[in-house]
Amino acid sequence: MTTIQLTINNHEKTIEAPPMKRLLDVLREDLLLTGAKEGCGEGECGACAVLINGELVNSCLVPILQAEGAEITTIEGLVIDEKLHPIQRCFLEEGGAQCGICTPGMILATHHLLEKHPQPTLLQIQEGLNGNLCRCTGYMRIFNAVQQAALAGAAK
């Protein structure tokens, strides 16, 4: 077991866990932040995506020891004063979520994309989200949601 200090959604946390425990499992089991999901366990589907120091990362591939001192943002941390973040609102309005299991990762990937490209082209959107698999939507309405979020000036 090892002790790790990190910041999750702006809260400092101290975790006791085996150093190879996956960040995904620490979030879900130790911190009860179940927004990040396990879809594949091999970094293919993006359902486990979180932001580490502002960078989009698949949390199923991060041993917790390597997150020492990091700032982690999960889907639970995106809400602003108990209100939907503009990206969340656009996903809701545009039909960008159907079953919702890919949605936390997809929204974080969108957030990450819009930070880098506040007015992304469709090609940039496709690339930015290419690590997040959605089986329900066929991606069309996700692209719409991202474009609407860009128009709404979602990049803080």
Partner: protein, 788 residues
């Protein structure tokens, strides 16, 4: 007074939407119950054989575990679907790789994989069969006996029950034959199968989890546990995609978890990881269709013989029903003076196949629409002209003899689809440019229909019931067993109720499907929810309103007026506000304590189906569609890409435009995967590519723009005229895409998935270069690892 605001036909925010975007929706693996243990399954490593020994490696502290075998089953060792051939746990024999043999439970999830690996099972292997052809040979009988050896089900469907007269063939202008094949397809919902089960000697069994049909699981549990249905409680949790893959399979995983809960005395969570889910659970049935068609010189269909065969895997599960739908859809939206469809579902030693969106129709429609393009070529007509000369139309009879009394206009749908996709201009442009380009472009289409609701007498047998109750706060709450798993069930049913009750959409609630509290409105399958269940919600809401009517009048009523007939007639414009409604509801509750209305399915008078002759009204309503696909085939890499996709569909009333379009887009994306990317690679009956890395599903970079156009011809059978749309979009993409690829390359591919290696083999005519050679055994062990 106030006119009724339009709720149906608009796109209000989904009831379940906010929780999803916030990441607060609770899927089964997010749920923890006090004292919960975890389960795992010990599975067969061989495809067929007799179990000769089971040994438990002494390095594991087995006393910490609960171990369940078939001997622990209180009731019947069966997972009931339509028949009882499917064991809950194997006893002496196994018939497919990954067949469940034992179950383990332990409080610590992380020790289970090692424990599973420490159960050593030896077998006497028997020869296994993996293809329809090997099953047909009946050299190895793996299921049934005699006439039914290896054969789960057969159907003979003949129009008017008349065989095709010989002179039809003799006098035909052309006889066109073709054979078409489709492969297995994995549903690949992003949330794997999972459940949490509890058991108490007094209360019975409770299972909550990811599923489509809570009452199917109730039925399965009642047999496994020998308990009445009331003691088998099933609750659907937020479900992360299903597509049919959680229609019949939860009966397996739910029974397993419940057995572990019973024996361990703890709640047990049993959630599969991706590798296990892909290897062990149901897939789409592979198919082989043979067409033999007599056509007149001017392109009229004279007669068709269709042999339609499905690979059902090791146990029957839903194969008879999949076969049924495939059979009925095999003739497509065309007039057949004579047609004979012989259908069969065969057994193989592969994990049993099951429901997947489309349910047999994508298979038979693929064959038909490829074959129609072939017929066109032989006869010398364009694909368009051939369809136009043969389309069914209003007043015609289908192959089952069903009179199409609702308006049907495939001519118009085809015209519209070809216009919207700029089909003719593109076809000419590609013909001009292809000879001098390394990228060959093509455009092709498919025309088809899809029946909504259960086949024939199915809806009558389901006898669905819907209820609406009043909450203590005076809000109507819908009670159905219909489940939401992305398609917006909760939303559209609330829209229907709100529209009928004339209250705001926000003020209609819907209960979580908990079989202790909701009636059986039937399974959430067969594109039936908007149409059949929606109609029942509409009726239940009307009945609700009628009950509430005396309390809704704007006149001051004396005591004596109450109950004396409705102050609000259902035909008059509603003359109450939402506030009036709440007040009336609360007054009703004060007087009567509770209000619950119900509506039960009533079989329409003019729906008649004969299971013996396979004739009559197969479905109460059909949706009609045309899909147009544009493709680019890169002759450098032999890869085919879909570059544009147009859909035009007539679906009755569109209840929620955004959700409806989302269904089409998602279905088309799965259809594109079915056609060009998703191959199940079997090696000795094992799924070799049971990971997302090696089972290729389209990413956001692979999907073209998908254009959706709806037309609406309201159906009397559906809520506000709605028909089913969930499965419709699955039928068109594969044939449209292969038709387009034929235009691009002049090669008639007849099998899906069509991989670059297959295109390479045909283009270069190098033998054994195609995807059949994707065999890791040939390469040797070093390259069979999972990752690069």
């Amino acid at each position: 007074m106030a006119s009724t605001p339009q709720i149906v036909g608009r796109s209000p925010l989904r009831k379940e939407g906010a929780a999803k975007v916030l990441g607060r929706a609770q899927y089964v693996d997010d749920i923890i119950l006090p004292g919960m243990w975890f389960g795992a399954t010990v599975r067969s490593t061989i495809p067929r054989g007799r179990i000769t020994s089971i040994k438990f490696d002494p390095t594991i502290p087995w006393h910490e575990f609960t171990i369940v075998s078939a001997a622990d089953i209180p009731g019947e060792n069966t997972i009931v679907h339509l028949s009882k051939d499917h064991p809950c746990l194997a006893v002496s024999h196994v018939n497919h790789a990954e067949e469940p043999i034992l179950l383990l439970a332990h409080p610590n999830r992380s020790v289970l994989p090692a424990a599973v690996a420490a159960v050593h099972i030896t077998y006497e292997e028997l020869p296994a069969i993996y293809t329809i052809e090997d099953s047909e040979k009946k050299e190895q009988i793996i299921w049934g006996e005699g006439e039914q050896a290896n054969t789960f089900k057969t159907y003979l469907m003949q129009k008017n029950q008349v065989p095709i007269p010989d002179e039809i063939w003799e006098k035909a202008g052309f006889i066109v034959e073709g054979e078409y094949r489709t492969g297995a397809q994995e549903q690949l919902y992003i949330e794997n199968n999972g459940v949490i089960a509890e058991y108490s000697a007094t209360e019975g069994v409770t299972v909550r989890g990811s599923m489509q049909c809570p009452f199917y699981l109730v039925h399965a549990l009642s047999l496994v546990f020998n308990l009445p249905a009331e003691k088998c409680r099933v609750i659907q949790t937020e479900t992360g995609g299903a597509f049919g893959g959680k229609e019949d399979f939860p009966s397996v995983i739910g029974s397993h978890a419940a057995l572990l809960a019973m024996k361990s005395g703890h709640p047990v969570k049993l959630c599969y990881d991706r590798a296990e889910d892909m290897a062990a659970t149901t897939k789409r049935h592979p198919s082989r269709t043979r067409h033999r068609t007599a056509v007149s010189k001017d392109g009229k269909l004279l007669a068709g013989e269709i042999d339609f065969a499905l690979d059902g895997g090791a146990y029957a599960t839903l194969s008879p029903v999949v076969l049924s739908r495939g059979t009925i859809h095999a003739p497509g939206p065309y007039n057949w003076p004579y047609i004979t469809v012989r259908a069969k579902a065969m057994a193989t030693n592969i994990p049993p196949h099951g429901a997947f969106r489309g349910f047999g129709a994508p298979q038979s429609i693929f064959a038909l629409e490829r074959h129609m393009d072939k017929i066109a070529k032989v006869v010398g007509l364009t694909p368009e002209e051939l369809r136009r000369r043969n389309f069914l139309s209003t007043g015609d009879r289908t192959a089952t003899g069903q009179l199409l009394s609702d308006p049907v206009d495939m001519q118009h749908l085809l015209t519209r689809a070809l216009e919207e996709s700029n089909y003719h201009a593109k076809r000419a442009e590609f013909d001009r440019e292809n000879p001098t380009s390394t990228i060959k472009r093509g455009i092709g289409f498919a025309t088809f229909f899809h029946g909504a609701g259960f086949t024939g007498s199915g809806e009558r047998r389901l006898n669905s019931l819907v209820e609406i109750e009043l909450t203590p706060e005076g809000l109507p709450r819908i009670l159905v067993s219909s489940t939401e798993f992305g398609q917006g069930t909760n939303t559209i049913l609330c829209q229907v109720a709100a529209q009928t009750l004339n209250v705001p959409y926000d003020q209609v609630l819907i209960a979580q499907p908990d079989t202790n509290h909701v009636p059986n409105s039937g399974p959430t399958v067969a594109s039936r929810t908007a149409m059949i269940v929606g109609k029942l919600v509409e009726r239940a809401a009307q009945s609700f309103l009628d009950t509430l009517a005396p309390f809704l009048s704007s006149r001051t009523l004396s005591e004596a007026d109450w109950g004396k007939g409705s102050a609000v007639s259902s035909d008059a414009a509603p003359n109450y506000t939402p506030k009036d409604f709440r007040r009336a509801a609360q007054r009703y509750l004060a007087q009567h304590g509770s209000l619950k209305s119900e509506a039960r399915f009533e079989s329409p008078d003019n729906i008649f189906w004969d299971d013996e002759t396979y004739s009559g009204e197969a479905y109460p309503a059909y949706a009609w569609a045309v899909h147009v696909a544009e493709v680019a085939v890169d002759t450098t890499t032999y890869s085919a890409n879909v570059t544009n996709f147009y859909t035009v569909q007539e679906v009755g009333k569109v209840l929620h435009p955004i959700l409806a379009a989302g269904q089409i887009e998602g279905g088309v994306a799965q259809g594109i995967g079915y056609a060009l990317y998703e191959r199940c690679l079997w090696h000795n009956g094992h799924l070799a590519n049971n990971q997302m890395t090696n089972y290729i599903m389209p990413t956001s970079a692979d999907i073209p723009p998908i254009h959706v156009t709806f037309e609406e011809v309201p159906s009397p059978h559906g809520a506000y005229g709605a028909k089913g749309i969930g499965e419709l979009p699955m039928d068109g993409p594969a044939p449209a895409i292969l038709n387009a690829i034929e235009h691009a390359t002049n090669i008639a591919f007849t099998e899906i998935p069509l991989l670059p290696e297959d295109i390479f083999e045909r283009m270069t005519l190098i033998p054994n270069a195609g995807a059949e050679s994707l065999d890791p055994a040939v390469a040797g062990p070093i390259f069979s690892e999972a990752t690069a």
